[in-house]
């Protein structure tokens, strides 16, 4: 077991823009860390640099306190599970599991014992003599995981291991990986572009974009306090509604104005936002903070033109426009019984307790007190 530390780590390919730029990150011993970002954001490249499969162009990498920049992958004592599983097709499941131990010249009795233990743990005991081609996707996934587990490594690096599975299996494996982590207590870095995986599995999320770390934090913390509009728009589905607006002041009060919408900023945030009065801002509100009925006196009425209704069973996502606002994809998560005519105008209620304002120039969130 070990912690992993990246100091100013960059990856540049000759003649191309940097794939990873100046990443500073400390993954604690035993932590379940998620690398989240759209494809091409550098998360897999970062993972491969940690594994030693890509050279680090500049910066330093430490695993368990030891500098690892020039250490071969085999001497880093880490295990990687690839998206494609990368099982050795000419070997049986048992041979696949044993390969790493054989490479490390472990005694035969120990190899057998460990293969047996891990295959029992993952429920692949009955497939040991099969070749990977004769396994289903889920079984292959387990073998790939087993190949990592069997070596008892200092850290696990998982490169989108669930993305080839169907929805049900993915949900099962999500739970199982979390359970496994609790059981083993090892350091895990899990790369994904799936925000559900990110929210449900990780102890911390590291969100990347264009080769840079945008925000690192606990899932809920990142969700409630996105550092900029990218994080706000990326984490969660539907994403946070981002509306170009203007902040106006009248006496003590502050208002967010956009088209026909005029909402009062909660008193707690006034001081923080006052510097932006009479300036353009990006107003961010989560879909679950727009309600069908006024349950609290401070929820503010909002006239919405219904564009579409997505009935998901457990909830209804109302997609709406607001007159005077160009975008017509503002989302609200409403109760499962909510119904409305497409094209009709409905009154909804916005709860601004968790609102965010972003600076349109930098796209960064304007700091405000915690709700």
């Amino acid at each position: 077991m070990a912690d992993i530390e990246l100091r100013n780590v960059s990856k540049r390919y000759t003649g191309r823009v940097a794939a990873v730029e100046d990443v500073n990150l400390h993954i604690r011993d035993g932590e379940f860390m998620i690398f989240l970002g759209p494809s091409g954001c550098g998360k897999s490249t970062t993972l491969r640099m940690i594994a030693g499969l890509e050279n680090i162009s500049s910066g330093e990498l430490f695993i368990g306190g030891k500098r690892m920049n020039d250490v071969a992958p085999r001497d880093r004592n880490i295990a990687v599970v690839f998206q494609s599983y990368a099982l050795y097709p000419h070997m049986t499941v048992a041979e696949n599991l044993a390969f790493g131990l054989k490479m490390h010249k472990r005694p035969q009795s120990e190899i057998e014992e460990r293969v047996k233990r891990v295959s029992a743990m993952l429920g692949i005991g009955q497939f040991l003599e099969r070749k990977p081609a004769a396994l289903s996707g889920g079984q292959r996934q387990r073998v790939a995981l087993g190949r990592a587990l069997v070596r008892d490594p200092a850290a696990f690096l998982l490169d989108e291991p669930l993305s080839n599975l169907d929805a049900q299996l993915r949900a099962d494996m999500r739970l199982e990986l979390v359970k496994l982590h609790r059981q083993l207590g090892s350091t895990i870095i899990h790369v994904t572009h799936d925000q559900v995986e990110a929210m449900t599995m990780g102890e911390r999320i590291c969100i990347m974009k264009d080769g840079r770390v945008v925000q690192v934090g606990a899932p809920l913390d990142v969700y409630r306090n996105p550092a900029n509009t990218f994080v706000a728009g990326f984490l969660a589905s539907p994403p946070m509604n981002l509306i170009e607006a203007r902040l106006t002041g009248e006496g003590d009060g502050l208002w967010v104005e956009a088209g026909a919408m005029r909402l009062q900023v909660p008193a707690a945030y006034r001081e923080a936002y006052r510097a932006y009065v009479d300036k353009p801002v990006i107003f961010g509100i989560r879909a679950e903070d727009i309600h069908a009925h006024q349950a609290q006196p401070d929820w503010q009425a909002l006239d919405a033109d219904v564009v579409a209704l997505e009935t998901l069973g457990a909830e209804v996502v109302l997609v709406m426009g607001i007159s005077g606002i160009a975008r017509a994809d503002i989302a609200a998560r409403l109760g499962r019984d909510y119904r409305a005519q497409i094209g009709s105008r409905q009154q909804l209620y916005a709860d601004l307790a968790e609102m965010q304002l972003f600076d349109p120039q930098t796209t960064n969130a304007i700091p405000r007190p915690q709700p």
Binding site: R48, A51, G52, L53, A72, P73, R74, R76, I78, A79, V80, F82, Q83, S84, Y85, A86, L87, Y88, P89, H90, F99, G100, M103, H104, K131, P132, A133, A134, L135, G137, R140, R147, R151, N164
Partner: protein, 267 residues
Amino acid sequence: MRLKTIAPHIILVLFACYIALPPLWVLRTSFVPDSVAYQPALMPEFTWQNYVKLFTEGTFARAYLNSFIASAGATILGLPLAAMTGYAFARYRTGGQISRFVVLATQMLPPVAIILPVFALFRMVGLTNSVTGLMIAYAAINLPFLTWILMGFFEGVPIELEWAAQVDGATVWEAFWKIVMPVSLPGIAAAAVLGFILAWNEFLFALILTGPTTATIPVALAGLQSSNGVQIAEISAGVVMGILPMLLASRFIQRYLVRGLTFGAVK
């Protein structure tokens, strides 16, 4: 309407005959006595005598063995080298596009252009009139071609397999021999058979570099056109015997080329 379906078939049959008739006629000629070989009759007389004579008199049996040693030896010698070179090109882009082109360019050189320098070199080190010399020459000549073929196969091996092996504790060298090579087996088998065929059919180098006891099949067959005239029936028997291993090999290569061993490794 009927004409529309018949016409293409007539053309196809004609083309099939155009391709198949000459070798079939060689097969027919190999089973008739020399005296009636040139007659247009389909099978004026049947005999095994041409085959018997071919292997009991003269040097054909010896040439058969020489061909086999030279071709197999060249393949065994050249294949590992070609595999490593092809892998370097495929995985590490060694030398960039230019070096890939140079490898291909060697194949554009007519063999006549290099046969004299090769002869001069071989005479210096005493490798003329020897099957070993021929083997070395064939391995060298086939190397670029085999490299090119294997490069294509290695490019198809997912790099994650090698990464997995390296993380599992293998060196780059071990990952190549324990993972990449077995996974590329169909490609390697195909390259081996192609290399063998090329060497087996080669004439010019064999003619210049060998003597009576070290001649290969193509040279021995050419030798049957002696001052006594062309022994066409015996030559036909020799041609049939020369083609036979290739026919078997082509079945083999087909099976291996079709079989994708990597299936199941990745998704």
